[in-house]
Every structure is written in C-alpha cells, then in structure tokens.
C-alpha cells in the first residue's frame, strides 16, 4: 500500500520549488527518509542540487536516512539554511 507524505519546504528551497510543500506518494508501506529524498528529487528536479547538503526533519527532529516515516508524520526539508 503506498504512503502519502507531504514535505514542507522553506526559504530558498521553497523559492526554487515554487511551493511551500511537496506531496509525495511513496510505494513502500513504511518508507524511509532515503525513499523520501529520492521521491523529492524526482518530483522537484529544481531541488536536486541542494539535496545532498540538506537534512530531513521528522516531527521537528533531525532524522537520518534509515528512519521510517508514516503518513501521520510531519516531514520537513531543512536545507540552504544560514542564520546570523
């Protein structure tokens, strides 16, 4: 059963994508963050260059690539940051 995941975008990446969230449909029942990255690159080629320097956050915590996500999770792309 596929999983629906929405990834929030911010700052320059939201600008590059032209939207503040990307809705993804992932084939796996319990996809990993690695799967989310791959689907994101496919859905939004404008983000591809910035993905290697970006992290995913799941429910407001940084997540590594093996972490699994479900449709209930809040997923965000944290990249191209730079406070100060």
């Amino acid at each position: 059963m596929p999983t629906q995941v929405t990834v929030k975008l911010f700052g320059p990446q939201a600008k590059l994508a032209g939207q503040e969230a990307v809705a993804l449909t992932l084939d796996a029942a319990a996809p990993t963050c690695r799967d989310v990255r791959a689907a994101l690159a496919e859905a939004q080629p404008a983000l591809t260059a910035s993905l290697p320097g970006s992290r995913l956050a799941v429910n407001h915590e940084y997540a590594d690539d093996d972490q699994r996500v479900s449709a209930d999770d809040e997923v965000a792309l944290i990249g191209m940051i730079g406070g100060g």
């Binding site: 929030k8 911010f10 939201a14 600008k15 944290i78 191209m80 730079g82 406070g83 100060g84």
Partner: protein, 136 residues
C-alpha cells in the same frame, strides 16, 4: 549555568550588555544586515523560521556549547521576519570566567548556527518593494 534563547520578530532593539556574577569575560556578537548581497543593493533580509523546531534547535545548540566550554551564561536572540539593512538580526552574549573559552564558544556557536539551526534568509533587494520576500 544561565541559558536564555529567544526568537524576536523584526530587528533586534539595542540592549545593555549584562553583568554575570563571577565572570571575568563578557562578550557580545551582533550580526548586522549588510547593504549588499551578491553585488546588488539590498533593502532587507527576510528571515523564515520553522516553529517550534527553530527555537528548540537554537536552545539545544546553546546548551551544548555552554556545557562544552563551561560557560557561566549564554544568551541568544535571533530575528525572524523582515530586518532592514543596517539593523541587527542576531545577538549572542557569552559570559565566562576566562577569555579564551568565551571566544572559542562564540566562534563555535556561530559556525554551528549556520549549519544546524533551521533558519532561512531571503534577500529583499532595493527598488523592488517586497518582490523577493515571498515565494510566488
């Protein structure tokens, strides 16, 4: 150990430096919005946060840096929203017994801030009122 972390909408107001009991070194860093970006005159920077993760990560970073360097106190204020050129968007106060740890802590905090804390800035160029401020 005192830890104080805050996000503030718009430019940061001038605030007095503190005094912290037992501190031998008290230092402040202020980040100011520079007038040019990528060779073009700037009107402002628009800072975007991701609540509550931004403030939480700022706090985590402040705590880690304060603990690692044995600081007496650390205070962080960062703007979100629009901050005009010449205004302060970031203020870091550090108090320590000795100078060297304070300076090292300040350096580490700022380096890690730029890599670890979800906080984005978008340039608002001069002469294009608000045009670059929002995603289309």
């Amino acid at each position: 150990m005192q830890i104080d972390v805050r996000l503030h909408e718009g430019p940061l107001p001038a605030t007095p430096c503190w005094s912290v009991d037992g501190a031998g070194a008290v230092m402040r860093f202020e980040g100011v919005v520079r007038p040019m970006e990528q060779g073009r005159p700037l009107a402002a920077l628009a800072y975007e946060q991701y609540p509550p993760m931004t403030e939480r990560e700022l706090h985590r970073l402040a705590e880690e840096v304060a603990t690692a360097h044995g600081l007496l106190a650390i205070r962080v204020v960062h703007s979100h929203g629009r901050v005009p050129v010449g205004a302060v968007s970031f203020q870091l106060d550090v108090a320590s017994q000795h100078r060297a740890v304070g300076l090292a802590a300040m350096d580490e905090f700022i380096n890690r801030l730029k890599r670890e804390v979800p906080l984005w800035k978008l340039p608002v160029f001069a002469g294009k009122r608000g045009a670059d401020e929002k995603t289309p």
